[in-house]
Amino acid sequence: MVNNEYLPFRSEILEVIKHAELEYTFRMSYDRGDEHPVKPGQFFEISIPKYGEAPISVSGITDHSLDFTIRRVGSLTDEIFENYVGDYFFMRGPYGNGFDVNMFKGKEIILVAGGSGLSPIHGVIDYFADHMDECKKLTVIVGFKSPDDILFKEDQKRWAEKGISLITTVDRAPEGYTGHVGMVTKYIPDLTFEDMPNAISVVVGPPPMIKFSILELKKIGFDVENIWLSESRKMCCGLGKCGHCRIGDIYICQDGPVFKYTKISSMID
């Protein structure tokens, strides 16, 4: 008998972390990890029946829980934001290839993220925060619109304490703001490498941010073969069936969402 992949399971909200007015992290119970282990960069279809489903990246993974950082942008997420600890969502997944932390091991890692683009790589950062000896160096450049939009403040503090080189920047800030101000691209030229040809980079965020970040990386001589992206598209299934996420001969949900830049850069939507 074929498994019915469309039937969701119920998951309890264990904790709600409010980062910003429109962005919360929901920590959901997950006890299927033995059978269905979850990797950073994978996603689940999360739903509240009657409001529909949406593909959401996993932003944190523990033995019994998964974090989903959700931006309130539509009727489903409006409804999701009405839910609290002890309530339930329906979920199915994990879907997509996700990041294999092994590919980063022993390397200098540059992670560039814009806004909620931090979610898919959050798990990667968490892993190396606990295993700093497994990589040469980890630099995270993350940009938000304004100081009020900064996500994962607590996590960032923890990451910095663990020795991650973290640059948190905002597009604009009120006077008197002491942190970094400017686009993420501003900080790419300042990066220093011991062994640039073997360094690895991941860029995640809105399309213009990705485009200009890669331009900057190219400018400093970074090998494009070592750049990775995480794509997002409309997806109704996560199973290679609904067709919405196709670009050329690629299905984002099946072949991605994590791609080598050189694989996806020539594709036209």
Partner: protein, 340 residues
């Protein structure tokens, strides 16, 4: 060896099958056309062989049986979900050779591209295919060009001549009833066409670089994004998920999947308003290249089966065959010249 049956005899065979199977075939839905007092030929349950349309191509394809236009996946209450029920009977589908080739495309999408699709698989396992012999080509068919004019992997094949049905039936389940009701036996080979009036030639040098050519611009103004080409296509499979609720308090409802089209505005629309391919020409490019390039890259065989339905149904007279034969070579020439 095949069987010869009159209308009455075949109707009796239908009756014998009806315990386990519903027979679906192209049939006339009178007066349901886009214009008043016009008919539509599409798939419906048939009990009388005389209701099967032989002298024309169906406007819409058989795919509606395997991937219903609207299919409930499950019913939900606040805390639980319950799978929807499937038809108790299997389906015997009368279809043309090109359409049986389209089944291979559907199978690829639903059984191979990613995990097997539970709903498709459940329906698919209970289907028998009966090929309707084509003794002539229809206006706009190009099956020969796409290599779909001959089928051999059918459960049965029927030729219809002078009021008699001649059936070749390798499938033993179906054969039993045919044997019982047959008025004679004879050798039967499914009719097929060797030559269509329309031929298409997919350029050998076609690559995705053509996406950047200007051949698509013309469609920005011509195409109205209605999606008829994809809805009528036997190989288009896209669908969207819909949740609806039945009660005022919204605590019970259903989740269903509904056919959609890459021509529709909401096809790539994500929460928050992002949308790829706003222009009709971009959507045309997305569809055409899927049919004759991208699908093959992934699956190893062409998607388009040359049934001609998209050309026949387009209200703006946009022709896929014209696009393949005239536009694609022109577009490749353009991008190759620009590349040099």
């Amino acid at each position: 060896m095949g069987y010869q049956l009159s209308r009455r005899a075949l109707a009796d065979a239908f009756k014998s099958w009806s315990g386990t199977y519903d027979v679906y075939a192209p049939t006339v839905f009178a007066g349901t056309g886009r214009f008043s007092e016009t008919d539509v030929i599409r798939y419906g349950k048939v009990t009388d062989p005389a209701d099967i349309v032989w002298d024309a191509r169906s406007d819409y394809s058989f795919k509606e049986i395997l991937i219903p236009v609207c299919q409930v996946l499950f019913y939900f209450t606040e805390h639980s979900v319950q799978e929807s029920e499937f038809p108790k009977k299997g389906a015997i589908i009368f279809l043309r050779s090109c359409d049986l080739h389209a089944v291979k495309r559907l199978d690829y999408m639903f059984l191979q591209n990613g995990p097997e699709d539970y709903y498709y698989k459940t329906l698919r396992d209970k289907v028998k295919f009966v090929v309707m012999g084509c003794d002539h080509t229809f206006d706009g068919c190009f099956c020969v060009s796409m290599g779909t004019n001959v089928s051999t992997n059918y459960d049965a094949a029927v030729n219809f001549k002078d009021g008699m049905y001649y059936v070749d039936c390798p499938d033993e389940t179906l054969a039993a009833a045919l044997k019982n009701h047959a008025e004679g036996t004879c050798d039967v080979t499914a009719d097929h066409v060797e030559k269509d009036d329309v031929e298409v030639h997919i350029p050998d040098n076609l690559t995705s670089a053509i996406a950047k050519s200007s051949i698509w611009d013309e469609y920005d103004k011509r195409c109205i994004k209605c999606g008829r080409c994809t809805l009528a296509c036997p190989t288009c499979t896209c669908w969207s998920m819909q949740d609806i609720f039945y009660t005022e308090n919204g605590k019970a409802g259903e989740r269903r999947r509904v056919q959609t089209s890459c021509m529709f505005d909401d096809y790539t629309l994500v929460a928050g308003g992002g949308c790829f391919r706003q222009k009709a020409g971009e959507r045309m490019r997305f569809k055409v290249l899927h049919k004759v390039l991208d699908f093959k890259k992934r699956a190893g065989f062409q998607m388009c089966v040359g049934c001609g339905r998209c050309d026949a149904i387009c209200p703006e007279y946009i022709s896929l065959t014209h696009c393949i034969n005239e536009k694609l070579p022109q577009g490749m020439k353009e991008v190759l010249e620009n590349g040099q």
